[in-house]
């Protein structure tokens, strides 16, 4: 090999080797140059995380749908106060006591309720909740030293409190965790779309919409096969282990609402119903033998739609009389 060619090959090899080394050095240099950015990123992260905790004061009657730290301080005697908590359908709500300054002996109380209760009507109903009514109340004055953090069984919870002495109060932190199979849900919005799945669980699940709505069920899969039920259509779904029912009423408790329709056969398509009630509930009853699923959409029924209610609607329930 001519010496010039050898020299060129060697030069190329050396250059390549040098460039690799230089690259590594640049990588190290880049890493070194990134360190200030990395440090800034950590500071940035700390700054952002510190500022991310939402804080505000609570009113006597209040509702919260976000995580954060909330403080109530009584400026006067407050005897009938409540705070409602609501999350997305897949959220579970955790209430953690940070600071409580109330006079339990003097008649103050601070109680967490697993669900919502309005005018004595509970959601979820007693039929659909694993705990008894008394177990759903957690009284700080009785168990505050033991249970500082309480998690709900569904996407809603609330606290009741009574404070006699001005200046007394409490601070709670609200966090949300994910529920893989939401069962009992109250919708935050008058419109939306949801799929409820009950996988081999013997339980009943309710989805409540506290608005007059048009609800459209697009997909229903119940475990039993179509056509194998020797059952009179007029008998409804009574006696069937797995079915979906639509309920309407003026209260919160699904067990006290009017049954408007029930579905006990799987279908794919669209079944629409206009329900002019203050509260509409889609409830799935599951035997636990199958995986049941229902997908539905809903949007608020406006006044014009309530007047045009001749088609595909239940007239005798909940619509305002003309």
């Amino acid at each position: 090999m001519p010496s010039a060619f050898q020299f060129q090959c060697l030069f190329i090899l050396i250059f390549l080797a040098a460039s690799k080394g230089e690259t590594r050095y640049l990588e190290v240099r880049d890493a070194g140059e990134d360190e200030p950015f990395l440090l800034l990123s950590e500071d940035l992260k700390r700054e952002l995380s510190a500022g991310q905790i939402y804080r505000r004061s609570l009113r006597c009657i209040d509702m919260l749908s976000i995580e954060g730290q909330f403080t109530f301080t009584a400026d006067q005697r407050q005897l009938h106060c409540a705070t409602f908590f609501i999350g997305e359908p897949e959220d579970l709500i955790t209430i953690e006591y940070n600071f409580v300054n109330i006079d339990c002996q003097g008649g103050d109380f601070l109680k967490v309720f697993d669900g919502w209760i309005l005018k004595g009507e509970k959601f979820p109903s007693s039929l659909d909740h694993p705990l008894t009514t008394s177990q759903r109340y957690v009284d700080f004055c009785e168990s505050g030293n033991i249970q500082r953090s309480i998690r709900s069984s569904q996407n809603v919870a609330m606290i009741f409190f009574r404070i006699h002495q001005p200046g007394n109060g409490f601070t709670v932190t609200i966090k949300k965790t994910t529920n893989l199979f939401p069962c009992n849900v109250i919708s935050q919005t008058p419109s939306g779309r949801f799929t409820m799945v009950i996988p081999h669980q013997h339980r009943n699940c309710s989805f409540s919409i506290i608005y007059p709505v048009v609800i459209k069920i697009s997909d229903l899969i119940l475990g039993h096969l179509n056509g194998l039920f020797l059952k009179k259509p007029s008998a409804g779904c009574a006696g069937v282990g797995d079915f979906v029912e639509l309920l309407g009423g003026a209260g919160l408790d699904p067990s006290k609402m009017f049954p408007l329709a029930d579905l006990c056969h799987s279908f794919h398509g669209s079944a629409q119903m206009k329900i002019g009630c203050d509260n509409t509930v889609l409830r799935m009853v599951s035997s636990g033998k199958h995986i049941n699923r229902v997908t539905f959409e809903y949007h608020q029924l406006d006044l014009q739609e309530t007047e045009m209610r001749k088609e595909n609607s239940i007239e005798e329930f909940c619509f305002p009389s003309i």
Binding site: L48, M63, L64, I117, L118, K119, K122, A250
Partner: protein
């Protein structure tokens, strides 16, 4: 004749006069004297003792609740949603401000 019979019936139906019972020094009425008249006969048939019912604790009280209309509840929901959106917008603004430095 009818009036005489009626008056006789009324006389027989009238309860006997109450007689002051001897009280003990502590104010209680001796058990032997209670429920008896001046002649020692029972005035009224003895009442059956009250049924010992289980103690009615907090479980039987109506559950703690609040009276709100759905209208007000929906209003609270609207406020909560608006607040949540404001908090999310504020959080996004701080993130973008920090990233843009």
């Amino acid at each position: 004749m009818r009036r005489v019979l009626l008056a006789l019936l009324l006389l027989l139906a009238r309860p006997p006069l109450a007689v002051a019972l001897p009280a003990t020094t502590d104010g209680s009425v001796p058990v032997a004297a209670a429920g008896t008249g001046a002649r020692g006969r029972a005035l009224w048939p003895p009442l059956p003792p009250p049924v010992q019912e289980p103690w009615r604790g907090r479980r039987d009280e109506p559950p703690l609740s609040i009276d709100l209309t759905f209208h007000l509840l929906r209003h609270l929901l609207l406020l909560a949603r608006a607040q949540s959106q404001r908090a999310r917008a504020d959080s996004n603004r701080r993130i973008l401000d920090a990233v843009g430095r």
